[in-house]
């Protein structure tokens, strides 16, 4: 490195020539470390995928740092190291999710056939399909949504538009508390409530819906509140200036403007409760027939079905386990579908507030 002639401090290039790592450097380092570690593990006979991944991550972080430090400069090397670390952390967070999806798909797909989706169970021996569970899930979730959505949205409207002072603070506090209620407690609440009025031992589809709505309402309130707050105040003022009463402003201006966000919030809340098992175990019971009336008798649903098929398999154990996995896969599919629908609705109805 030649010293510059003038007095101003030079922009010093890297010690070994001021270079830049090639574009393929990060990928090359990762590939290289994986191969290196794999070879090492195989040679010492301690190969395992988990060990490979962890060791390869460490090795590649080290390698990229040293290589970059040598070729480029210290700041860039540190930059690359942190980039690797962040990506590794992200991958680590993703691993359980992907592993879960993979596992459920692997075990559930074999059992997922037309019979499963449309047939009802066949007798005590077991077999048949899960149509009763699917129908039950849809009915129970539907009724829970029918209860929670009006209550939740109206409460959110109160909190954003009308509430003030102590009552509002108290309500917000209790809503926050409600978001943390364990699901079994919600189930027991519904159980106790109906036991008081209809005698103990009663099992109804609507009891499950009540339990689920206890869990769903705070989520709907929270997300609706956020969405309503985002509606700019200028729109409300424009409406007031035209001589529109407050309630009409809310119904005709604020709610339509917030519509997409409200629907998304509801969909997310539904996706959250659709797989709850504990409250449904104590409220809706376990039954083998298709029941579409929430006010009459037990109703099966996918979450409880998966549990019961696993706990008390029929004569053919494997078939029962297959069905349990298939039920789990169906639940995941329903949640994904709901999220997708929520996104589509949001995109379609979102209003550009300019």
């Amino acid at each position: 490195m030649q010293a510059p002639a003038d007095k101003t401090p030079p922009l010093r290039a890297a010690a070994l020539g001021g270079g830049v790592l090639p574009d393929w450097a990060p990928y090359g380092v990762v590939a290289g470390s994986v191969l290196f570690v794999a070879a090492l593990l195989l040679a010492t006979g301690t190969f395992s995928v988990a060990l490979l991944l962890v060791a390869a991550t460490v090795v590649s972080c080290l390698a990229i740092y040293l290589w970059s430090r040598a070729v480029e400069n210290r700041r860039r090397a540190f930059d690359r190291l942190v980039t690797f670390a962040i990506i590794a952390a992200f991958a680590l967070a993703l691993v359980p999710l992907l592993s879960l999806l993979f596992e459920v798909a692997k075990r559930g797909l074999p059992g997922l056939d037309w019979e499963f989706l449309t047939g009802s169970p066949r007798g005590i021996v077991g077999g048949g399909g899960a149509a009763h569970a699917i129908v039950g899930t849809l009915v129970i979730t539907g009724v829970a949504a029918a209860i929670s959505v009006p209550i939740g949205i109206l409460a959110a409207i109160y909190l954003t538009e009308y509430g003030s002072g102590r009552l509002r603070k108290a309500l917000t506090f209790f809503v926050d508390v409600m978001t943390g209620i364990p699901s079994i407690v919600a189930g027991l609440f519904a159980f106790a409530l109906f036991a008081i009025f209809l005698g103990p031992g009663i099992r109804l589809g609507v009891m499950g819906s009540v339990a689920l709505s206890v869990l769903m309402i705070p989520i709907v309130i929270r997300s609706s509140e956020e969405v309503l707050k985002i509606v700019p105040n200028q729109l409300r003022e424009a409406s007031y200036a035209l001589g529109t009463p407050k309630w009409k402003t809310i119904v005709k201006i604020v709610l339509p403007t917030a519509f997409a966000g409200l629907i998304t919030g509801v969909m997310i809340a539904v996706a959250r409760i659709v797989g709850e098992t504990a409250p449904l175990l104590v409220t809706t019971g376990i039954v083998d027939t298709i029941n579409t009336d929430p006010f009459e008798g037990r109703m099966q649903n996918l979450a409880v079905y998966a549990y019961s098929e696993y706990r008390t398999p029929g004569v053919m154990k494997e078939a029962s386990y297959d069905r349990a996995w298939a039920a789990a896969l169906t639940l995941i599919a329903i949640v994904m579908l709901l999220n997708l629908v929520a996104r589509l609705i949001y995109r379609r109805y979102r209003t550009e507030i300019r």
Binding site: A238, L242, G243, E352
Partner: protein, 297 residues
Amino acid sequence: MQGAAGTTGAEAEMARAEVREPAPQAMPEAAPKAATRRRAKTIETRDVNLYYGDFHAVENATVTIEPNKVTALIGSSGCGKTTFLRALNRMHELTPGARVEGGITLDGQDIYAPGIDPVQVRRLVGMVFQAPNPFPTMSVYENVVAGLTLNAGRVKKSKKDEVVERSLRGAHLWNEVKDRLDRPGSGLSGGQQQRLCIARAIAVEPEVLLMDEPCSALDPVATLAIEDLIRELKNRFTIVIVTHNMQQAARASDVTAFFNLEETGQPGRLVEIGPTETIFTSPTEKATEDYVSGRFG
């Protein structure tokens, strides 16, 4: 009035096709519609004091807003012009903690009397805001008739069509949007959006039109269009406009009221009110003279 205006309006429109839309010299051809000079209402305020909680924002404002004239409220930032304006249509009280003391009357009737419904007051005293705020979920057509549909419920389509055309023509926006009435209101340019808001405000035929710095978010061309529009609208309404721009006040108004703030923390006061000519050429108060000649503000 509407039947005749329909045919002559179409002819006038074709005659005006080459003329720049907001040009005032187009007025004589459009005369049959605008000729009827409707006597709008007077607003009088007496010793009005406005508060935000404990903060005294405006002190003892006594003003007469004359009918069918444009009154401009000028003054430096924070002196209470917008607060005063919002008190005139009972929007000031919407801010939590805000209150109004003193008397404000509309053609002699006290708008703050105990039995008076603020919603009714706001139907008589309309407002246009600083930043254009068309309703984003509604089309241009629906925006213009929003004042009607939100309040009157079912309105016949023919009546709505007529109101839309009349208001958009009145706001000098008809030619630009007549082919896109069903498109969202937010798709227009800033100047067009502001004219849309003006059309929306005049569609309900208020007695008084309040405008809070209507041109501050607009470019000079759009500003000129709005000022021409204001000059034309005063035949039908009483107009009060708050503006930071003294040249605009000098151009567009008949009466000017100068508000001033002694120092921050003090309430704003009405210093002087009078015909625009007088205020700008030979004001009585020294503070007014200092402000209009640019020595502060």
